[in-house]
């Protein structure tokens, strides 16, 4: 491996944000930052007595809705929606409301902890921050020396306003091995849409007339503003719901099709075929903006509606209706891209087909169709970090002999999926499934340390047993969180972060059909001995800076980079916010006055269709036929492959969201748990099937998969296909620090097998088959 290449690649992922300033600009702004920092006269909204209303931004899920906290004498009374935050249509959901109790949660982390018992015993001692930092620094150094590899220390995180500081920490330590949430979520979606449009667009739901939601449960997986616009518009908008479960979204849908799982691609290909063969496509648009239409037309001829009926179990007549209505309503038609796409092994090809469907009817970058995201560019520091000799390339990149094992049997030979290395692995996101296997195999090298921020891989990554083995073989694990997650429970050091209501967070652009900027300011003072990720990164940077042994594989010049970083970052967050908004006169004031900053409330269409604009694809056009895929030996046009099948008597296990829970993170909030309506989860099984198997509501069953087994109570229901089972994510937890849900119900991660889709490296969460046994 070439060291210089590793160095170079690391330079490239220094910042998370795309809107980065040139280094020179950042350096020149340092003096002004320092000047602001020294005049520390900003009024602190937290310090006033009595009743007050403070603007901030929710952090209980990814939407970051604007909120107004009502605070009485330093205690949060209520979180209300910010009426100026148009992205959420001025709402605050159940989780957003329950967030008011997050700082007061008796289970939250209050002091830094160092493990004293066996790993996973839950025995920790409270320590000072200084002790914790010393312990961390010592262990980081030990690993670097022992393995002569800084990349032997991994950094796992999920999105959030403070995540950038965690990524800084990875850069400071000198590791290339960041691993982020997208490969448990939307990596294949981003890859699929980008392979067609060169970008991953949003949907203009507000103005769409015909919306198809396939596997996107917007009522229970709230995305702003889409969920709200769908619910508000449902009488004038045709909403088609395609899902093997009768989700709450079906309540506002005009049609619902319980598709056979894993066959969505057949449906989309048949729709494309109908639209082309019946001349319903947008000829001008196709001619002007797309590449490969003739190949597409020829390719989809084989996919008739009658054929698709057999695959999908959706009547051919309905497929004709869908295709014709989709074309008729275009460009106000949307095949909703959705968000989490970690479904099946062929997911990228399926998402490609969805993108192609929208393209051939010309429903792209036009009102009511798919719209490329717009953003508001903020000034961000683009730091240069030190370079070290002991940095190696990513562990999950390049040729990996075990990759083929990550594919379900049916896709190993017939799926046109890579079997030696992931085709399009994101350099800063990696692939969780592949990363963990590489670490367990010690191939290409051992991964022996782990920093984890805000993520809980033990319950988030399929195959819990494997994640525990992954953590067990580590020399050192440090988790930064607000609660004792299962991962924190298995860590050596646990650093308590201040909750989102107790800290400043940088201003962030929320891109979308109409972009908006929010930031966070503390609505109350930190209740306990906690710090922000920002402060933790700065503190650890200082610690490493002062350790001569830390610099043995680097130069004085590199060490100076860290000094610069510390100087720039060791300032109050409000100054960083002000600086990031400095390109827009009045922006900071607007943020203070309204809790938001925006340039316009109206969408802008047609930017990519303008004369001279070029799509970010090889041909500069919308690639119905992907040129790079053809070169890489991938299918340039989406080819249907039959889904994998279980053994007789088995069920496909599917995952899905619930309106009261954000992934595995809010189940331990008593208000949300009770709003969910039970203190444990239950297995959805079709009523008829339950009857046949002699299963009644409340009976306990053992769910057994290739990954493990769980015991859970049964909920016979009409709301699910007979060939699948489901339960709500986030129960059956193994951290005793999550007192409400420890050992209650069943864990999803313990059942899901860790298959991966090998184009984007995304997990396949709908490829697991289970046996159900009455206990």
């Amino acid at each position: 491996m070439s060291l210089s290449k590793a160095k170079l690649s690391r330079r490239k992922f220094l910042t998370l944000s795309g809107a980065a300033l040139a280094t020179a600009t950042a350096a020149s702004s340092l003096s002004s930052l320092k000047a602001v920092a020294s005049s520390n006269t900003k009024e602190n909204p937290v310090n006033t007595k009595g009743r007050k209303f403070v603007y901030s931004s929710c952090a209980i899920c990814v939407n970051k809705c604007g909120l107004v906290a009502e605070v009485n004498n330093g205690v949060i009374r209520k979180l209300n929606p910010n009426p100026h935050f148009f992205k959420s249509r001025a709402m605050l959901c159940a989780r957003g409301n329950a967030g008011a109790k997050v700082p007061y949660d008796p289970d939250r982390l209050k002091k830094p902890l160092i493990r004293v018992g066996e790993r996973g015993s839950g025995q920790f001692k409270e320590v000072s921050w200084e002790e914790a930092y010393n312990y961390i620094a010592e262990n980081v150094l030990k690993i670097i020396k022992k393995y002569e590899n800084r990349s032997a220390i991994g950094f796992a995180s999920t999105e959030g306003f403070q995540e950038e500081f965690f990524i800084h920490l990875a850069n400071i330590v000198g590791s290339t091995n960041t691993v982020r949430h997208p490969t448990l979520c939307l990596a294949s979606n981003i890859q699929g849409y980008s392979s067609v449009y060169g970008t991953y667009p949003d949907a203009d739901i507000l103005n769409a007339d015909f919306v198809v939601l396939a596997g996107s449960n917007r009522a229970e997986a709230i995305i702003t503003p889409d969920t709200i616009d769908m619910a508000k518009n449902h009488k004038k908008q045709t909403l088609v719901c395609i899902d093997p479960r009768v989700t709450k979204t079906s309540a506002i849908a005009d049609k619902w099709y319980p598709i056979k799982p894993g066959t969505d691609l057949a449906l989309v290909l048949a729709m494309i075929n109908i639209i082309i063969s019946e001349n319903l496509y947008d000829k001008d648009f196709v001619e002007k903006y797309t590449y490969g239409f003739d190949e597409l037309a020829k390719h989809v001829k084989q996919y008739t509606a009658e054929w698709a009926e057999k695959e999908t179990e959706i009547p051919a007549s309905e497929i004709y209706w869908l295709a014709r209505e989709f074309a008729k309503n275009a460009p106000q038609s949307v095949w909703y891209p959705g968000r989490r796409s970690s479904f099946y092994a062929n997911d990228v090809y399926y998402r490609r087909a969805c993108a192609i469907l929208n393209a051939i009817v010309g429903a792209f970058d036009r009102k009511g169709g798919l719209v490329p995201k717009s953003g508001i560019k903020l000034k961000k520091h683009d730091f240069e970090f030190p370079l070290y000799d002991f940095t190696k390339e990513r562990i999950d990149n390049g040729t990996l002999p075990f990759l083929e094992e990550k594919l379900p049997e049916e896709f190993k030979t017939a799926g046109s999926l890579p079997t030696d290395s992931c085709a399009y692995l994101s350099e800063k996101d990696g692939s969780w499934i592949v990363y963990r296997d590489a670490a367990l195999a010690g191939n290409p090298y051992p991964l022996k340390g782990m920093f984890i921020y805000k993520q809980n891989p033990v319950e988030s990554v399929p195959n819990r047993k494997k994640t525990l083995e992954f953590l067990k073989q580590m020399d050192f694990v440090c988790t930064i969180d607000v609660a004792m997650s299962d991962t924190a429970f298995y860590s050596d050091v646990v650093l308590p972060e201040s909750t989102y209501l107790e800290r400043w967070d940088p201003a962030e652009n929320l891109s979308g059909v109409v972009p908006i900027v929010v930031a966070r300011q503390p609505v109350i003072e930190p209740l306990f001995d906690t710090k922000s990720m920002h402060q933790i990164a700065v503190d650890l940077a200082k610690k490493f800076y002062d350790m001569p042994e830390f610099w043995e594989d680097s130069t004085d010049e590199d060490r100076a980079y860290l000094a610069k970083y510390i100087k720039a970052m060791d300032v109050p967050m409000e100054h960083i916010i002000e600086e990031s908004l400095s390109g827009y006169p009045g922006a900071y004031e607007m943020l203070k006055e309204k809790g938001v900053f925006y340039l316009s409330t109206e969408p802008e269409y047609g930017k990519m269709l303008a004369e001279g604009a070029r799509f970010k694809t090889r041909t500069g056009k919308i690639e119905l036929y992907n040129v790079k895929y053809a070169e890489k030996g991938l299918d340039p046009l989406p080819v249907y492959k039959k889904p994998s099948v279980g053994k007789p008597g088995q069920f496909r296990f599917v995952v899905g969201r619930h309106g009261q829970f954000t992934h595995a993170s809010t189940q331990n909030n008593i208000y949300l748990l009770e709003a969910y309506g039970d203190y444990e989860n239950a297995l959805w099984i079709n009523s008829k099937v339950a009857l046949e198997r002699g299963l009644r509501a409340g009976d306990k069953v053992k769910v057994v998969s290739k990954a493990g087994e769980q015991i859970v109570k049964v909920m016979p229901t009409e709301f699910i296909r007979p060939d699948i089972v489901y339960y709500v994510h986030g129960f059956g937890r193994i951290s005793k620090g999550l007192s409400l849900i420890y050992n209650k119900g069943a864990s999803e991660a313990a059942i899901l097998y860790d298959y991966a889709e090998t184009i984007s490296g995304n997990a396949c969460m709908h490829e697991t088959f289970v046996d159900i046994q009455k206990v």
Partner: protein, 184 residues
């Protein structure tokens, strides 16, 4: 004499059972934890049909703020009372927890608040109204299922909605004259 008459008009076809209203209410009004402690709720209407011919729908509800409130009529201590603007409230200091009102309410809209040792229920967020703020459930709802306003003001949104839409009340046969109106 107040010249206001508060009411809520609901379009429950927009409801996605996200329970933002229930949570906002719990937070705003310090409703204690407990599976059965709530001032407002979202009910799933009886499921129609069998898989795959099936439809789900939801009905958010709360105290109906009846014009003819049985809870007030049966209360022996006058703890339950009606304000001049037609809002039914409970004076927690006068409540002796005899639960007559709970029995009398056809909507099961009341619960025992063990923390204050009194019966509790929806107040239309009466404490918010003088500040010109809407009830918490109305304000927080993502698709704005509920619209709150004054029936005596012909220009209020509730008055307009009642003119524009056919509505119904829950359990009209009870003669309680609810002020929650559901759009058909």
């Amino acid at each position: 004499m107040s010249n206001k008459k508060y009411a809520i008009v609901l379009d429950d076809t927009k409801c996605i059972d996200c329970k933002a209203c229930t949570l906002a209410c719990k937070m705003e009004n310090h409703v204690p934890t407990g599976l059965y402690n709530y001032r407002i709720w979202v009910a799933e209407k009886p499921v129609r049909g069998h898989f795959p011919n099936i439809k789900r729908s939801f009905q958010p509800s709360q105290c109906q703020q009846c014009d003819n409130p049985p809870c007030v009529h049966v209360c022996p201590t006058k703890a339950s009372y009606q304000t001049e603007d037609g809002v039914v409230l409970v004076d927690h200091n006068k409540c002796i927890l005899c639960k007559y009102c709970m029995t009398a309410c056809p909507y099961d809209a009341r619960y025992v608040n063990e923390e204050i040792k009194a019966i509790d229920k929806c107040t239309f967020c009466y404490h918010r109204l003088p500040e010109g703020r809407e009830p918490a459930c109305v304000e927080t709802c993502p698709p704005k299922v509920r619209v709150f306003g004054d029936l005596n003001d012909p220009n209020s949104e509730v008055s307009k909605l009642l003119v524009e839409h056919e509505t119904f009340n829950l359990k009209p046969e009870k003669g309680t004259k609810p002020k929650l109106y559901y759009i058909r």
